[in-house]
């Protein structure tokens, strides 16, 4: 049975690649390939699930290919199938199949018809990887695909301001979840002293053995995974991104944000449940988050005057309940709840445009003028307070700015004293010297060897902060990101012996994507275009191909899975020792910042309204 599992990944992969080969006007072929892929996949999922039931629900594990292997780590692509995978996959395939057919007519003649179907297939691939993943590393690949397709689908109408702004907002948060997941993987790696698989997690003996010695681990690991789950499932305090993600065509909102994408947090909790099952305290924490979210999101949904936003908050509230269900161990209920919520919210979103005529009609016959009797009592005041807070979405939309981005920006501002030129003049030679010592570590005194890695990491993080704060020249920001990556590599390279292949892999990723991206920017400058980051330029209007090339470079530079940078990054992370939390924190932070800077460069330069020439330009407020 387990040998079937890889096909559930290969099929959408093949469909995605194939559908990408046809131009936009071949709507029939693009749709045909997409629907055939998902239909076959659905049949497969059903067959597999039935077979699995017939076989009395075994846990199916497939030991896949090793991407690379060292003495202590083994990055392998493993697959796994159990009841959770089954329910999620069945629901996902049925829903994707239906929504795709719906979209065939809905998306007809849209400029982005092809982009839409490619993205949905890519999303489906990512989702399949997540659902069938056998270990955290594999799950992470799918997780990242989901993140990237989210960005593209939110910014689907890329020549308007709000979609692009909101796509950036969402992807920034996702980046935090990504980093959390990576940290979680790192922690697991150290806790279990190997890359743990999901089937091993089910074995109490394994957990017992490793957690006994370091009781801090289960709490840390669980917390970090909980953080990732809270972000992805738009739970408190991260809820406000979900309504803002509803920027793409209604069908994509229905499939992603109404349903599948946003329930991935619940999936992660279900998967990691064995790790925190025994901790009463932690279960209480999960319940608390679920409960707070449910209450706040319900209140917010009650006051919403836009239909999609209302559905988003209702969905968030139900997911909050699912968190509680998972924590209480009621997993069957959680899965039923998941399926019901997915279908209900997707349907509500798909038909949301008809709410107008339905409700107006209803009102025409049944309207009763509302009573205005709010009493001036404490209770009345409290009610009004809740009303106002709900209108303001409990200030959650500002939350990330206030507590994360703005402090980081202020940190970046502290570095204003370093002039931009100094960066190139100072840091390039510094890097070359450092690079020399990586291969000649014996020349360094041991004391230096001890502190240099951290020093390099600090330099790296400084560069990243500077890049994050900068609103000026894109080329400079781009270089800062590259240099940050190089310094991160350096810090780890100085820290420990490692194989040439590894560093070459990493460097090749950075260098190639760095150069390609740089060339794209140079090209724009040569064409007389502005590449200042203080506003959106929408260069994709006149340079669609260049946009595509730059996007690939950006994905690669930000460490998108399966690019050399990613593998290198992952390897390097693996090099950080279990007690070097500072180094780890720096590396994680610079990972987040790099991603943000790179996505921002892409969005500011290539997306948004293009105001040059005489063509339709969207208002800022749309």
């Amino acid at each position: 049975m387990n040998q079937f599992l890889p096909y559930f990944i290969l099929l959408p992969l093949a469909g995605w690649v194939l559908s990408a080969l046809f131009p936009n006007r071949n709507e029939k072929i693009i749709f045909g390939i997409s629907i055939a892929t998902v239909a076959l996949h659905s049949i497969g999922v059903f067959a597999l699930s039935l077979f699995w039931l017939y076989q009395d629900k075994p846990n199916v594990f497939y030991d896949g290919v090793s991407l690379y292997k060292t003495h202590d780590s083994d990055f392998s692509i493993d697959f796994y199938f159990d009841g959770i995978s089954s329910v999620y996959a069945v629901v996902a395939s049925v829903l994707t199949f239906s929504v795709m057919i719906f979209s065939r007519f809905y998306m007809h003649r849209d400029k982005g018809f092809k982009r839409f179907f490619n993205n949905v297939l890519f999303f489906y691939l990512g989702l399949s990887i997540v659902l069938f993943s056998g270990n955290f590393e594999t799950l992470f690949i799918g997780w990242e695909i989901l993140g990237v397709t989210s960005f593209f689908l939110i910014a689907f109408y890329r020549d308007r301001y709000l979609p692009v702004k909101n796509a950036l907002k969402v992807v920034s948060l996702y980046r935090v979840a990504d980093a959390a997941l990576l940290l979680g993987i790192w922690l697991c790696h150290h806790a279990f002293e190997k890359n743990i698989t999901f089937s091993e997690l089910l074995n109490p003996a394994v957990l017992q053995e490793h957690f006994m010695e370091e009781p801090i681990y289960p709490l840390l690991i669980s917390s970090i995974f909980l953080l990732a789950a809270l972000v992805k499932s738009a739970q408190f305090p991260f809820s406000s991104w979900l309504p803002r993600a509803m920027e793409g065509p209604t069908t994509s909102s229905a499939i992603f944000y109404g349903s599948l994408s946003v329930h991935i947090g619940v999936f992660l909790l279900l998967r990691t449940f064995p790790i925190w099952e025994s901790s009463e305290v932690f279960r209480a924490v999960v319940i608390a988050f679920g409960l707070i979210t449910s209450l706040m999101a319900t209140a917010t949904a009650r006051v919403q005057s836009t239909v999609k936003t209302q559905i988003a908050y209702s969905s968030i509230a139900q997911i909050g309940l699912m968190f509680i269900e998972v924590a209480l161990g009621w997993h069957t209920l959680a899965l039923i709840h998941f399926a019901g919520n997915v279908f209900l919210r997707s349907y509500q979103l798909l038909v949301s445009p008809s709410v107008l005529s339905y409700m107006i009609h209803d009102q025409f016959f049944n309207f009763i003028a509302p009573q205005h009797n709010i009493k001036n009592t404490l209770w009345g005041k409290l009610r009004l307070t809740v009303y106002m807070l709900s209108i303001k979405e409990w200030n959650l939309d500002n939350f990330m700015y206030r507590f994360l981005w703005n402090p980081l920006k202020r940190l970046g501002a502290l570095l204003d004293f370093i002039p931009v030129r100094a960066v190139t003049l100072l840091f390039v030679p510094l890097f070359l010297v450092g690079f020399f010592f990586v291969y000649n570590r014996e020349l360094l005194p041991p004391a230096a060897l001890e502190h240099l890695p951290s020093a390099m990491a600090v330099i790296g993080i400084m560069l990243a902060l500077k890049a994050f704060k900068m609103r000026g020249n894109a080329q400079l920001s781009w270089s800062l990101v590259i240099m940050n990556q190089l310094f991160s590599a350096l810090s780890i390279g100085l820290h420990e012996e490692f194989e040439h292949v590894q560093i070459l892999l990493f460097l090749s990723g950075i260098v190639v994507s760095g150069i390609v991206g740089f060339w794209c920017l140079r090209y724009l400058v040569k064409e007389g275009e502005s590449i200042k980051l203080d506003r959106y330029h929408g260069h994709s209007f006149y340079y669609p191909r260049l946009t595509f090339v730059f996007m690939l470079a950006a994905l690669s530079l930000s460490g998108f899975p399966i690019t050399p940078t990613f593998i290198g990054e992952d390897l390097l992370l693996g090099k950080i020792d279990e007690h070097q939390f500072l180094l780890l924190g720096f590396t994680a932070l610079s990972l987040i910042l790099d991603g943000l800077v790179v996505f921002r460069i892409y969005a500011r330069l290539f997306l948004g309204p293009n105001e040059k020439g005489y063509h339709e330009v969207a208002f800022r407020s749309s």
């Binding site: 239906s98 057919i101 065939r104 998306m107 007809h108 003649r109 109408y157 709000l162 979609p163 803002r244 509803m246 065509p249 319900t298 009650r302 006051v303 919403q304 836009t306 209302q310 209702s314 139900q318 309940l321 039923i336 709840h337 019901g340 919520n341 279908f343 209900l344 997707s346 349907y347 798909l350 038909v351 445009p353 008809s354 709410v355 107008l356 005529s357 339905y358 409700m359 107006i360 009609h361 009102q363 025409f364 016959f365 309207f367 005041k381 009004l384 307070t385 106002m388 807070l389 709900s390 209108i391 303001k392 040059k612 005489y614 339709e616 330009v617 208002f619 800022r620 407020s621 749309s622």
Partner: protein
Amino acid sequence: MMNHKLTELVVDTQQESVGFDEEHILEALKHFLPTQTPLKDFIHHNSLHAFQQMEFYDAIFKASKIFGYKVTFNLDEYRGLYQIGRIRMDILDKVISERKGPAALSAWKQLVLLQSYDETVHPRIGRLRSAWKTAYRIDLNNLVQPLLFRILGSYLDQGIALWHFPFEDQGLLNAVRELERNSFSSFFKTNRVKKLLLDEKNCTISNLLSLLVGDEAYFEQYLFDQQFSHRGWSGMSAALEAHPEAILYPKKIELRDLIVLELLLEMDALEAQLAGAWIPLSEKVKVKPVDLFADFETSELHEVYRIWQDAFEWSYYDEVLAGLQQLKLKRPESKRSHKHFQAIFCIDEREDSIRRHLEAMDKDCETLGSPGFFGVEFYFQPENGKFYEKLCPAPVTPKYLIKEFGANSHREHELLYTKKTHTLLRGFLSTLSLGVLAAAKLFLTIFRPKMSPAISNAFAHMNVGGQLTVENKSLEDRENDLQIGFTVEEMAARVEGLLRGIGMVEDFAPLVYVMAHGSSSANNPHHGAHDCGACSGRPGSVNSRVFAIMANHQKVRRLLALRGLVIPDETQFLGALHDTAADEIAFFDEHIISQKNATAHKKNVATFERALDLNAQERSRRFASINTHAELKHVREAIRLRSVSLFEPRPELGHGTNALCFVGHRSRTKGLFFDRRAFMNSYDYRTDPEGKLLLGVIRPLPIVCGGINLEYYFSRLDNYKLGAGTKLPHNVTGLIGVTNSSDGDLRPGLPLQMIEVHDPVRLVILVEHFPEVVLKTVQAQPEVYEWFINNWVHLVAIHPETNQFYYFRNGAFVLYEPLAKEVKSAEDMQYLIRNAKEMKTNFIVDATQEHLPVHVIND
């Protein structure tokens, strides 16, 4: 009248400045903001109505300079149209020669075809307010708009939220004040601003502007910048202030309140972000205030656009005129004495094709056209309805009420639309229960679309089983200041008015169908835009039924006979409704049909059915999902399914492609193929030689047809700023409109899916009468004349005796001889239709190729 007063106001503004006059600026703002009311009623209007007192090109270029709208194609697009022959060379030459003189032809042609220009528009709007960003690196739009829209949306909400805005009966600003006073939270971050709000006496626009902007000279520009940064919400507030009856759930809203609230929020944002370290904007900016409405010097480039647009329009009109000429020469009029039946349709250009098919199916029928409210103006109250619906053109205010009774209708509900799924516990239970239902529904929606309560059904507008209070019982029978029903005298006046207006005064057929129209569509917030424009964006079923009842009334007939309009006793009028999306027809009150007419009616119904089949086939050529070559009944079924398919953003194409409006006898157009682009109003100059009735016929045309045409024109050319953009991401807000995103502005105008087939050409009204009579008629009323003298619609008189065309230019008629000597002719038009090309993309050069040229159909 309103317009004129405002025009003066705007002119005043330009003459500057005796200090800040709040009332004056508010009026000016309201004049320029979009006037679209909530989507439940869709009234088409000129998107640039505020500029209508100016000449068309001057107006659009000025609007573009001020607000940054795209008002013509760009040069690449025009040149592309020229390359594919859509813009004809001979027409281009003629346009240049006429405008620039024959001597300058080659020089200008060079410019038009080859010169490159920097076409970027640098609008005047927004410049002052953007100085906040340059001065303080602060983005007020981002900081203020999301909360402002949320408050405004919640305040105006008609029923999406479960919890309505507290104190909403007190006006926006007062409601916010009460909230601030009575809760522990605040919309404001700073106490200073909260205090400003609560100080009711001094919380005025001018006081706030003094704090925020400083120098009075900048106030007007600042307010325009501010309000036009979200013209959707501001326009909606202003429109609801002017028309509080446009929503069912009453709300008190004033543009003034919105502005005060926004100024406060802006100041709050500045205080909070800059910790009080800011000075009024006028002290920060170096430039003088800009007069937004100052005269605008057009350039050579604008001349080039103008030449191109004229050539684009005349390339089509010329073909139309050539077709009319050819038909007249070929087919001298023959009068048929015995008609099987007559059918009065709405003038709507979507009825062009069904009339053509009907005439082809039964050579002895006559079709006529008249605005689809059929001259009867009233409010309608369906049984159990809590409100009235206006059923006549938007500018008319009826004095009558028609009530439905005895229908015993029972409205069905749709479980999945219940708001209870948005509460926590019931939401929990409903996800568990309704989730399964939703999954099943989803499948049914996709594979078995069918009519449901969630779909706007044109036939459900009126219950056929119910009865209507058409006749007034006594003058005391009134409700809310409206007379219930019409007296016999009033009925007779209306029936006579309509019949004489369309020249239907003799040779009545035994059956006269009064065919209203409406449109069913699913998942479509803009469904009102597909219904009858003459019925305030609603189906015209009640009007057609009421008219038929009036015209069949014995006392009415007697009165009419006294006035020389004799309708034979055997003639019966029958109301009916044509669903232009589903291509179905329902007939009303069939039980009144006399035995003598019953067989004929049965036969006629079959004729209508066959015409509907062909009509469906003709329409299907523009729908990619339907195979036009399939069997007729399959095509017809596919067309019907579109109107109930939730996944179909184009249930029909509305008024897309409209370009002509013909006023005259059908014999001049019968046999011409206009590809559903012509409004057709019946009128017979012979029954009205002096043109006494002509004004009544022409008066509504510019505002109804011209309004439709110009809304399509501007939504096509700038779908981002003047249109609503693509429908696909729309988010229904407050049941009043659609927005992009959860933080976006309302999007008035037409969505992309409605305008992509449209060629933006101005409407040309063709009137069959003597030019001097037409001239006298259009000049009779200034508000009618404005449309023509300022070139917002074109006017051509067809001389009924010499058959020559006279084009209205600069206040006079000049002879126009079509350059095209011949138009195409065809034996089997349906064959051409089935094999017509489908657009590759909706880019204009591709899209325009979908249109079929004017054809003379050979018998």
